[in-house]
Symmetry: C2
Amino acid sequence: MKKFLNSVDTVLTESLDGFAAAHSDILALGDEHKFVRRRELKPGKVALISGGGSGHEPLHGGLVGHGMLDAACPGQVFTSPTPDQMLAAVQAVDTGAGCLFIVKNYEGDVMNFDMAAEMSEGVLQVITNDDVAVENSSYTTGRRGVAGTLVVEKIVGAAAEQGMALPELKALGDRVNDATRSMGVALTSCTVPAAGRPTFEIGDNEMEFGVGIHGEPGRRRDALKSADAIAQEVCAAIAGDLGDRAKGPALLFVNGFGGTPSMELYLMYNSARKIFEKSGVTVVRSLVGSYVTSLDMAGCSITLTLLDDEMTALWDAPVLTAALRWGM
Amino acid sequence: MKKFLNSVDTVLTESLDGFAAAHSDILALGDEHKFVRRRELKPGKVALISGGGSGHEPLHGGLVGHGMLDAACPGQVFTSPTPDQMLAAVQAVDTGAGCLFIVKNYEGDVMNFDMAAEMSEGVLQVITNDDVAVENSSYTTGRRGVAGTLVVEKIVGAAAEQGMALPELKALGDRVNDATRSMGVALTSCTVPAAGRPTFEIGDNEMEFGVGIHGEPGRRRDALKSADAIAQEVCAAIAGDLGDRAKGPALLFVNGFGGTPSMELYLMYNSARKIFEKSGVTVVRSLVGSYVTSLDMAGCSITLTLLDDEMTALWDAPVLTAALRWGM
């Protein structure tokens, strides 16, 4: 295992300490590293709280700030945060208007966020499940929540910042999730620090179609394809799943898994954009970068969100977080 | 070689096409992919032009926009751009106030930018050479220009946006370069697409101290060390080179080389910050991310820039590029 670390037991806390020190203008750490919270709360605003296993940075801590999340609870690497983390976050950031949990669909996350929601007052939840690759998976019943979660957090975050009430935010989050599809491919495995070796074996000329963000198996293992062929298959899976809805204005988000440089991500974006635009989708908004990662995995995912005017305006609204910032 | 590509001959142009399409609100491509230019020029402003071999993205194209570069000339991967690229860029973005070239100190880059400067009117140059690792290297006489180049481009770019004249911008750029030191380490090699195999061999438990951003040898090959030990050695090299000046307010920039995820970069930032602060440096500004990369190399560099009030204010000034944006 080749990583920058001092001890596998302290990877997460040291990284969070560095993260909080580097972005102390935007956010602060909760006690015992239970959560990352927005530094300045906005009284009367519904609090958005997300979280999940670590190793997907900048998701979710890097998305805490004005116009996006109020708090994020980091679990150990690829391990759900515990309900007491969510409860501590609720206590820290709920200013009286209630909380919305945004939860990726993994059994541990759903169970623990559910438990925290039941122990709190005025909490609703949005479960994201944008990954079209497989139905049910290593840690999931149904579909996995992956990079599309960022899109939900951005759009719902903007609406919360503008004063939308809790039930409407929940409905909006469900609507964005429903308009969003993703699929990923891996060229290499990730390596969990505590394991010390790759999560899965993969040959020098192989790739995994439909990989999950913890290295879960996808649809199939295959020989390494050209960028265009990969994009063709991934875009077809996304468009096929959307069916007749796969047309009109959309956000195209090409997401790196951590070990793939931006030069390759923009090349994949170029392929995917051409493919979608040939089929009647108009790419009106774009995001390219490593935002929902799988530690050091080489690979990427493609996410398409069908946009209406309200969603587009909310995507464009000001955001100031460690990882996403525009308009302020 | 495991990369997202269609053909090694078209990696660069396809990636640039995707980049320009994703950021068409900020920038545009010149004919024949000769340069990336700011979409809206500001008449009367000195034009800042940089460039160099590709493979270091987002440097330099990702730094084109308001408050930073007016144009960037991308060479082939790890290959200097040609003088006609710089001449075309000058022609496209010089609005009459002259041009400043910001050039990393590599022999090919220096020669080609020199040639273009001699063939133009009203061009001055800043050469960056912030890498303390080695004196002279594979492609360099003197010291290499590395991640500190971004700091020069940001600070000089802000001053140009505010109307500073060409000779003062040149002096400011030299001053920022003189206040900046960097050193990098590699855990793996990069792989140049046209070569198809790693640039250098490195053992499973080895690392390279002082590596260059093209995989050039550094100070020595050693067994993989802890993050703290790596940071200690890199920070000591930087502080030792600055000598008595290594104190007071500073920008700490931890830069990933392309294959290292942000979790590890923040952990390295945490180590480096503690080390510098123990020795009298006060970290007042921070940047953590993969900005000056070496394709898919796993590794990182640490850059320290000693800040005065003018430099700090210019660092904070609004910037709107693909890779760096704040204040607008």
